[in-house]
Amino acid sequence: MIEFDTPLVPGANARLSPDHLRPTAAGVALVGQRCQDCGRTLFPKTGICPGCRSENLADAELPAQGTLYSWSVVYAAPKPWRTPYTIGYVDLAGDVRVFSHIAGDPATLRVGMPVALSAAPEADDGAAAAPFVFQPTAKENA
């Protein structure tokens, strides 16, 4: 008998299961996994390490600070997304890249700028909501 134990619970949240987010004193933290055999960091969680096929994975809180690799302001998206919204890739220490909505004025965003995690704002009625956001930590000159 094969044990089937995956931490993703689609029924609980079709977009990201709630155990990927942990409340902290500073607000919120992302919870991914660290492979206990090869050390690879994974986000979101999975049942098996793509690096070494180990199933020995432990929950790991990810750094809340990162750098913005790139971003785009989306003006055409399927419902229930309400446009425009900004998405990007954020590189966190520990060698993991996280896809995220990016808060703040898009005109102030710069490649490589520092960004920090925060809880997602409440979505408007009927609109899709991001599970979390990253936003610039320092004022940058436009």
Partner: protein, 380 residues
């Protein structure tokens, strides 16, 4: 011992919006045109390979049933934007292995059924479920490329100007009107920095190719085109940072395909590459070795990739202007390149073309920069 394979027939319908035409009725005219071009009858064909990305179940049965050809082995192939070219790879192997002498390959798609907007992606994917759309994925690559190499929005728009100039000479293209940098940049924003004209249009299409064992090809076609290499690669899963300005999968697949063909970038006379968005074409110039890294804009602006240049890229208009009905693209690229090598392309003919390349690559799943890449090289 693998047998050599040749293309003996090509067919396609003009790409465009046909909301009232079913997938089956988009497909069969392309298949019939390819068989007429090859001079083969349905009973000459041993197997059928049909690519579709979003066409639903059994597109091959629906299409070939119309032509009285159901009953043959039909293999339906889904591999995102490389579905048609992946079907071609399977058809190639089916002949090379000696199992069949003649097969037909089709790529077909009807995107108008989705009523516009970016193509639907897999909702189970967590980035997609959280708001990732294809234009934004390419836009993030573009922004990073612009940051690292100093490319400007005007320079990206130059890709569209070239594309439309080529498409104006292609009666099978969806968008055939010429445009300007100003007009491209003034079109509405889709995913910053891409305006509408910098994104391939949604539309419907079908294209078909008849393949034959090379030693039998001259019985059917006065000008068979040899499949010099047929190659498919999949992307690497990457949970950490990756360089989005270098399409790793295309670099790797190109190297493997060049090796299989015994050819290099300097040998390519004409290429149809996956210009789903403006910046993609530029990055593929570099990935295929048509220029060095970071020099794609210079290559474009030198005119080298325009008709009449050293290495014309996307003489058909490419995805940006010919259109990009997902799975039909890979097959239609082959239709264009084969006809180029046969000297049948009229005003957009690349004079003296002997070696041509096609490239279709697809993605839209998290953890993969691209999921799949298929490259073919043809020679006469």
């Amino acid at each position: 011992m693998m047998r050599e394979v040749a293309v003996i027939g090509t067919g396609m319908i003009r790409f465009g919006k046909y909301p009232d035409v079913s997938l089956a009725d988009l497909g069969w005219p392309a298949a019939r045109q390819a068989m007429d071009d090859a001079g083969v009858e349905p009973e000459d064909i041993g197997a059928l390979f049909c690519g579709t990305g979003l066409g639903g179940p059994m597109p091959g049965q629906r299409i070939f049933g119309r032509l009285g050809m159901a009953g043959l082995p039909i293999i339906n192939v889904e591999n995102a934007c490389s579905s048609g070219s992946s079907a071609l790879n399977l058809g190639h192997t089916a002949i090379a292995s000696g199992r069949y002498d003649i097969v037909m390959v089709m790529g077909v798609e009807k995107l108008t059924k989705f009523n516009g907007g970016p193509i639907p992606l897999e909702k189970e994917d967590w980035e997609v479920a959280n708001g990732l759309v294809m234009p934004a994925l390419y836009a993030m690559r573009a922004r990073r490329y612009m940051h690292e190499h100093g490319a400007t929005p005007e320079q990206l728009a130059g890709v569209v100007v070239k594309s439309r100039r080529h498409a104006a000479l292609n009666p099978d293209a969806q968008l055939r009107g010429e445009t300007t940098v100003e007009e491209v940049l003034a079109s509405r924003m889709i995913a910053d920095p891409f305006t509408l004209f910098q994104c391939c249009p949604t539309g419907d299409g079908a294209a078909a190719v008849v393949l034959c064992a090379a030693d039998l090809a001259s019985r059917y076609s006065p000008r068979p085109v040899k499949v010099q290499a047929s190659h498919v690669a999949s992307g690497h899963f990457e949970s950490g940072p990756r360089d989005m300005t270098v399409p790793e999968i295309t670099v790797r697949c190109a190297a493997e395909t060049y090796e299989e063909a015994g050819l290099g970038p300097e040998d390519i006379d004409v290429a149809e590459v996956h210009d789903a968005f403006t910046s993609a074409e530029l990055m593929y110039y570099e990935a295929f070795g048509f220029c060095r890294r970071g020099e794609a804009v210079q290559l474009l602006e030198s005119g080298a990739t325009s008709l009449g240049g050293r290495i014309p890229v996307n003489p058909s208009g490419g995805l940006l202007s010919k259109g990009h009905p997902v799975a039909a693209t890979g097959a239609a690229q082959v239709v264009e390149v084969v006809r180029q090598l046969q000297g049948r392309c009229g005003k957009r003919q690349v004079e003296g073309a002997k070696v041509g390349l096609t490239h279709a690559t697809g993605g839209g799943i998290s953890g993969f920069d691209h999921g799949v890449c298929a490259i073919h090289i043809f020679t006469v």
